[in-house]
């Protein structure tokens, strides 16, 4: 579970951070992710190489310094020894020494000390008793305070010794040489104080910082084991150095880093001399920062190259991204244009690459779409849009399917006589206007125009698109068409009175593309179509605007009908009851409802052959509505039937003689 959660959150992280709104950002980020680490690694390698080289140089330099230092110390000792040796051989000194008189000897020593530029001078007996000491003028007949120097001298074949040690808390380089007269008769001791000058002279030769320290076994006054004796470092650095050295164990003759007053010093410690109290250490140091100084220039160049390369990469990235995204933007814009139906939009991308090919493809596609749209438009004009859509979607194939459909036939009454009284152009204008407006009404009621047959219109409901309320829609369309014609008549544009007859029938028919392979027509065929046409022609006879079949009436629950008659249809034994569609039930007036009630009552009498009862109602209705043709028809028909005797086998079905 946790693993999945983790993965999810990881995915979300990537989605959040690597979802780009612009292709350009993606390319730049990609370039940066690829190039930055490489450049950074290079930069770090160079920097590291510089540091390593600088350290190597320092290492070498410190080694040289160490050698020079050791040499310098040896030289200094030899110098000092030479001086004392010369003194011990000085014949003038010998008589003075042999007086063994404290004051005489002290005076002599002071004179010689000055001559040798020394800091302290002593004369001892061979038993190490002080005869005179220039540092402690009053001291005499006391044992020498650096007995180890004499021990060392005694063990030397020349009787000579030198060492670094403290006298009154200050470091001295002291030497002992016997006074030969000619037998070794005295010890001559001479000492030089180790001052900063000593370090400075070494620094002059080695260009390294030189410090002389004493590492005491017992902590000195400050609690530290380290004590600076002489140094070329600043006072602050010396203090820090003492403290820093106290904190870790020094490996002699190995480099280590010491940070003093903010500067990193590569340091090397050399043990010079050891005694019971501790040991004297030379600390040789070189600043790492200073050693790196020549490399900083190189580093600057590398950093500049790094930034220039970065700039070039980003600029290049932007350029490439633009090169790619500009055509993509154009293509996106083109796609939007196409979406809005502007198929004449073409893209101009002068490239030979994949994008150029894509643009060409896009243009071909747009042209194809434009052609298709043209066809669709044309098709929509020739056939109903719904049929056109059906054709485009299902393809143009011959053949059909059995479907329930409602067929509406509409015809202009007395069109032939209308044509006779008006010129053709006027008629055509009228016809076009009328058919356009009627087509509009049919469209509004989900019907499709099947065809125009001269002045007649055949419309279909429920095909090709299934419509469960097809019958009701068809009847409502018929009512609306009648209203549209009244409107045209009221507009008084055409100076002629138009009236329509409409027949509506619902039936199972075969719907589909009919005709030849090269020329076909979406239509319906079947008995139901003929019945619809028949109903249309009967409207003139009964003098009603809309006649619907029983089947259609059954399907329309919201519309008020009036039964008109039952007629015999050719080839069918059963009669077909036909109805006049009046209006929507909610819109029907009380008078019309009363008329329907009365008429249907009369029809009941008529069907029962109660002629007299029927006639009374028919006559009453005719009196109130003298223009209603079917009242007259029934009155006439009843009078005819009355003449015959009651016939039990009579059926109230009327057979029309006309077609």
């Amino acid at each position: 579970m946790n693993k999945i959660d983790h993965q999810k959150s990881q995915n979300q992280f990537f989605k959040k951070w690597f979802r780009f709104k612009h292709f350009r950002s993606r390319i730049i980020v990609f370039i940066l992710i690829l190039s930055l680490p490489i450049q950074l690694i290079l930069f770090l390698i160079i920097q590291n190489a510089n540091t390593v080289t600088a350290r190597d140089n320092i290492d070498e330099a410190l080694q040289v310094t160490a050698d020079v230092f050791i040499n310098a110390i040896a030289q200094r000792r030899d110098n000092l020894l030479g001086k004392v040796r010369a003194l011990s051989a000085d014949y003038a000194f010998k008589p003075a020494a042999h007086t063994n008189d404290h004051k005489t000897v002290l005076s002599t020593l002071l004179s010689y000390q000055q001559r040798a530029d020394a800091d302290v001078m002593l004369l001892l007996t061979m038993n190490s008793d002080i005869i005179a000491d220039t540092k402690h003028p009053e001291l005499t007949e006391a044992p020498f305070y650096l007995p180890q120097l004499i021990t060392q001298a005694t063990n030397n074949e020349y009787g000579e010794a030198d060492m670094i040690d403290f006298i009154d808390g200050q470091a001295y380089l002291v030497v002992a040489v016997p006074l030969f007269s000619p037998h070794p008769s005295h010890w001559i001791i001479m000492g030089f104080k180790l001052t900063d000058e000593f370090s400075l002279s070494l620094q002059k030769n080695t260009k390294s910082h030189v410090s002389l320290l004493f590492n005491s076994k017992k902590p000195v006054v400050t609690g530290n084991h380290w004590q600076q004796l002489s140094s070329t470092l600043s006072d602050a650095a010396q203090l820090e150095s003492e403290q820093a050295l106290g904190k870790f164990l020094i490996a002699f003759n190995h480099n280590f880093d010491l940070v003093l007053v903010g500067q990193n010093f590569v340091s090397r410690a050399i043990k010079i001399e050891e005694n019971k109290q501790g040991h004297f250490v030379a600390l040789l140091q070189r600043s790492l920062e200073q050693a790196l100084l020549p490399y900083q220039q190189l580093q600057l160049v590398v950093a500049s190259v790094f930034f220039v390369a970065l700039l070039l990469l980003v600029t290049g990235g932007i350029f490439i991204a633009r090169k790619i995204t500009r055509p993509v933007t154009v293509l996106t814009h083109g796609a939007k244009e196409i979406e809005q139906g502007h198929y004449d939009f073409t893209i101009d991308i002068d490239q030979e690459d994949e994008l150029g090919k894509l643009a060409k493809g896009f243009n071909s596609m747009a042209k194809g779409l434009a052609d298709r749209a043209k066809v669709r438009n044309l098709l929509g004009k020739v056939v109903s849009p719904a049929i056109a859509e059906e054709l485009l979607n299902k393809g143009v194939e011959l053949g059909g399917e059995e479907r329930q459909a409602t067929i509406v036939f509409c015809d202009i009454r007395n069109f032939t006589s209308l044509c006779e009284n008006h010129d053709a152009k006027q008629i055509l204008t009228l016809l076009n206007d009328l058919l356009t407006r009627l087509s509009g009404v049919i469209d509004q009621h989900n019907g499709v125009i099947d065809k125009y047959i001269g002045d007649a219109v055949m419309a279909l409901f429920g095909v090709p698109i299934v419509d469960k309320q097809q019958a009701q829609h068809a009847v409502l369309a018929a009512i609306a068409m009648q209203k549209e014609v009244s409107r045209i008549n009221n507009e008084l544009v055409y100076n002629m009175e138009i009236s329509l007859g409409i027949g509506v029938n619902s039936a199972f028919v075969v719907a589909g593309n009919m005709g030849s392979q090269t020329r076909l027509n979406y239509s319906v065929i079947g008995d139901g179509v003929n019945i619809s046409s028949r109903l249309e022609s009967l409207t003139k006879y009964y003098g009603v605007p809309i006649l619907v079949s029983d089947t259609t009436k059954q399907l329309c629950s919201e519309i008020a009908f009036r039964e008109i008659d039952t007629v015999r249809v050719k080839g069918k034994k059963k009669g077909l009851t036909i109805y006049q569609a009046i209006a929507k039930k909610e819109e029907i007036s009380a008078i019309e409802a009363r008329k329907t009630q009365l008429f249907e009552q009369a029809l009941v009498f008529y069907k029962k052959q109660q002629w007299q009862d029927a006639l009374i109602i028919f006559n009453e209705l005719l009196t109130k509505n003298p223009t209603t043709k079917y009242y007259q028809i029934y009155i006439h028909r009843v009078h005819e039937l009355k003449r015959h005797k009651y016939n039990a086998e009579w059926e109230p079905i009327f057979t029309h003689q006309e077609k």
Partner: protein, 207 residues
């Protein structure tokens, strides 16, 4: 030296003698040790002894004399030499000279007298002045002898330049009868510091 030896050899038939061996702690013979009888005879000039200066060296290295004797210091080198001693027995100086300019120096006080030349640090010699006429120097085998001794009891002392202890500590008492006697001295030596010698094979150290 041959003369002295011949003299003592000729006398040994008339009197008894002491054969003395001087060795160090490592059983090695000590040459140039002065062996002598501890007695206090009056001073007398028996003869003039010579300490030569040849090729910037004193010859011999050690000379034993009876108190009151004189030593002549002829210079046989081409260059001048100086001779000095700050010893308690004889503090003297012969300023730079050539040939045989000075009269012999008389040594009136017993004890050791280290000699040196003030311009040649390594030139060194020792004179040991004794209060007896019975003394000898050991040879390279550490052997010396005291001759012409009558029977009786003697105190014998040994001195040499690198002796660590005081000379009195070497004292041995011996009773001599009619036959010669052997006497052996074992002496501790103090380390002997080398003085720097310039002209011969001198190499500077450490430069």
């Amino acid at each position: 030296m041959l003369a002295i030896w011949l003299l003592t050899f000729s006398l040994q038939t008339f009197a008894n003698r002491l054969n003395i061996t001087v060795i160090d702690e490592n059983n090695k013979p000590i040459e140039n040790a002065v062996v002598y009888i501890n007695e206090s005879l009056a001073e007398s000039i028996e003869k003039v002894v010579v300490i030569d200066q040849v090729d910037k060296e004193f010859i011999p290295y050690v000379t034993a004399i009876r108190r009151g004797s004189a030593i002549n210091f002829p210079n046989n080198d081409e260059i001048r030499h100086q001779v000095y001693s700050f010893s308690n027995s004889k503090n003297f100086e012969l300023p730079l000279y050539k040939g045989n300019e000075f009269r012999p120096v008389i040594f009136e006080k017993s004890g050791e007298v280290p000699l040196a030349c003030n311009i040649h640090d390594w030139m060194k010699a020792y004179i040991y002045v004794v209060d007896t006429d019975k003394f000898d120097l050991t040879n390279s085998e550490g052997k010396g002898e005291l001759v012409n001794l009558k029977a009786g009891q003697y105190e014998v002392l040994v001195w040499h330049p690198e002796q660590g202890a005081d000379v009195s500590e070497s004292l041995q008492t011996v009773t001599l009868g009619n036959s010669p006697q052997q006497l052996k001295f074992t002496l501790a030596q103090t380390p002997k510091f080398k003085a720097w010698r310039a002209p011969k094979g001198f190499k500077r150290r450490g430069y």
